[in-house]
Amino acid sequence: MKKFIKIALLTTTAAMLSFGAQAKETVVWWDFLSGGDGVRMKALIEKFNAEHADTIEIQPTTLEWGVPFYSKAQTSAAIGEGPDVMTYHLSRMPLGISTGTLAEITADDLAGVGLSGDNFAASNWQAAQADGKQYAVPFDIHSVILYYNKDKLAEAGLIGDNGLPTGLDGVDNFNAALEKLQAAGTQYGVSIHSAAADSQWRIFLGLLAQQGGEFMDANGEFLSGDNLDKAVNVTELVASWVANGQAPEQTDYAASIALFTSGEAAMHINGVWEVPTMTDLHAKGELFEWGAIQLPTFYDKPGTWADSHSFVIPNNVGKEQTAEKRKAVMEVIAWMNKNSISWANAGHIPAYTAVRESEEFKNMQPNAVYSTLADTAVFDPQSKLAGVASPVYDAVGNYMVPAINGEMEARQAIEEMRDDLNDQRD
C-alpha cells in the first residue's frame, strides 16, 4: 500500500512538473532603484509582463540601495532564498564573486537569447567578467556630468558659437571661469555635495584618471608611487574651490541640488540620474534653460568615473535553476537591454550598443551631448574594498571630505587614506 502511494505521488509530481514547463514561468526580480529610476523601471517591467502575458511574469521587489541591498543579496543566495534575477552594480561584483553570491552566465545562456559581447562596449563587457567568466550582463553606464545654467554662463561669456559651454577645459581655465561667474553675480561657480563621500569619490576618480593615475595598481596596492601626488592634486583643487567660496562648504546632496536649481550656483556636478529632475522642473516652467556636458578635461586627457547597473543571477545554494527558468531569466535580461531606450530617459547611457547608437538616442537631449563620456569612462578598481557603499567610500568620507572642507591638510589626508586602505587588504 505504502509503495503504491509512493508511486502515485511520484507520478503525479512528475506530471505536474512536465505540465509546469508549459505553464507560465515566474521570474522573481529584485532591484534597488528608487526615485526616477524606480518609476521608469516599473514601467519597463509592466510593459514586459504585458507583452509576455502567456509565458513569463516578472514579480518585482525593490529593496534599499547600498549596504542593505548587498547584504541581503549575499544572505538570501547563501540559503537558497534569493531571487531569480537582480540588478547589481558592476563595481560591487568583486565582493559578490568572493562570497559566492553570483552564478556564472555561460556562453550558451547568452547565445540562447542572441546576446554576446559584441552587443556592448568592450570596457563595459569586460567589467562584468572575472577570471574569464561572465557574471553579469551590463544594462547601462552611468556617471557624473556637469549641469550648467545657460543664462549665467552666457552672461559670463562662457557659451561658444555652438551653444555649448566653452573655456572650461584645464584647471586654470576652469578656475578663471568660476571667477567670471562670481563676478557676474552668482554666489557659487559650481555646486558640489562637499559633505558626501560617494559624490566626492565620483569626481575624484575621473580627475585622477585624467592625469593618468590609477587608484589601485596591478598588485592591488592603493595609491602607490606618484598616484599619491596625483590624488593630492585633485583633492587640493576641489579644496581650493571650497576655500575660495566658489563651491559650498559641507553641503549635503539635496542642498547642493537646491543651490543649482535656485540659481545660486551656475554649475553643478552630479550623477546623470538627476537629469529627469531637471527635465521635469523645466517642463513645469520652474527651471531656467539648462544643459549638461561631460566633465571638463582638467588635466591631460578626458576621463570620467562610471559605474554600471547590470543584471546578475544569484547562485542560490541548493536550488539550481531549471533550464526553463534560466531561459526565462535570460529572456528578461535580453528584452530589458533591447528596450533600454526608455531607461535612457532616466539619464543613463544604454549599455546595449544598438540602442546607444540608435537615432532615437542620438536625438535625446542632453544625453547625446554627454554620452561621449562612455568612451573614456573609468570604472572602480576591481577589489572587494571598492564599489558602491564600500570601504573605499568610507575612506573618502574619513580623509578626503575633511580635506576638501579645510579640516585637514590634503597631503596628510590622502597619505592616511592610502595607509588605511592598504591596511584593509587581505
Partner: protein, 292 residues
Amino acid sequence: MIRSRRSEITWALILVAPFVAAYLVLFIWPTIQMVLLSFTDAPLIGPGNWIGLDNYFEMFEDRRFKTAVVNTGYFVLLTVIPNTLVGLLIAIGVNRLKGWQQSLVLALFFLPYILPVSVVYLMWNWMFDTQFGIMQGPLTMIFGKPTHVFRTTWLFMPAVALVTIWWTCGFNILLFLAGLRSISPEIYEAASLDNAGRFKQFFRITWPLIWPVTALVLTIQLILQLKIFDQVYLFVQGGRADPSMVLVQYIYNQAFQKSEGGYAATISVALFVIIITVSVLQYTALRARGAK
C-alpha cells in the same frame, strides 16, 4: 509540610520553564554559535573554514578596532556621568514642585524618551541644518560661521552625546524621583531642627540615601552607552565614519558591508567581554563606595 514544599518547587519550575526555554533558544544558543563563528572565515551567512585564533590575532593588530574601542570609550565618558548628574539635578528640582505642576514638568522631561530614534534624528538634524537650522544661531555666534556639526570631526561625538542625554535623561529622572520620594520627610525635618542648611542636607542626607539608585542608573547607562549604535549610524549618513566608528558600527560594517561574518563575530565576542568586564569593575567600585 514536606509535600507542599516539594509541590512549591515543582510549581516554581513550571512557572520559570517558558522563560528559561526562551533564554536558552534566543540567547545562550546564538551566543555559543557566535563564539564558534569567530574561529572561522565564514561570510555573512554560509559555510566557512576553521581558522583557529587567526581572527583574534588580526583583531589585536587592527588599527580600526582600536579606534572603535577608543571612540566607544569617549562616548561613554561624554554620556554616562553627565546623563546621571543631569537626571539627579532635574529630579531634585521636580521633587520640589507639587501637584499638577510636578506632573506637567515631569511629562515634558519624559517626552523625548518615548520618541523613536528615527524621529530624534530627523528633528535634531533639521535643527542643526546649515541652511535653516534653528541651532545655527548660537553656533554661528560661537564659531563665526554656520557649522555642520555632524560633518565636523571633533564636534561629532559631543553633538551626538548631547542629543543622547536629551533623549534618554527622562528615564533617569523617573528612577531618581522614585528614590527621592522614598526618603522620609522626618529626616529632613530633624535636620532642619539641628540647623543643617540646604547644602548640608543634600550631602549628608539625600546623597547617601539616593546612592543605591545612582549606582543602578550608572550601571544601566554604562551598558546602554557601550552598545551605542543607532544614533551614530543615523547621524553619520554618508559623512565621516572614523570619528564615529563605534564598536557596534564596526561589527555592522564587517558583517554587512564587507561580508566578513567570522571577523564580525570576533569583534562581537570582544564587545561582550568588554561590557562584562567594565560592568563588574564598576559594580565592585560602587559597592565599595556604598559600604562606607
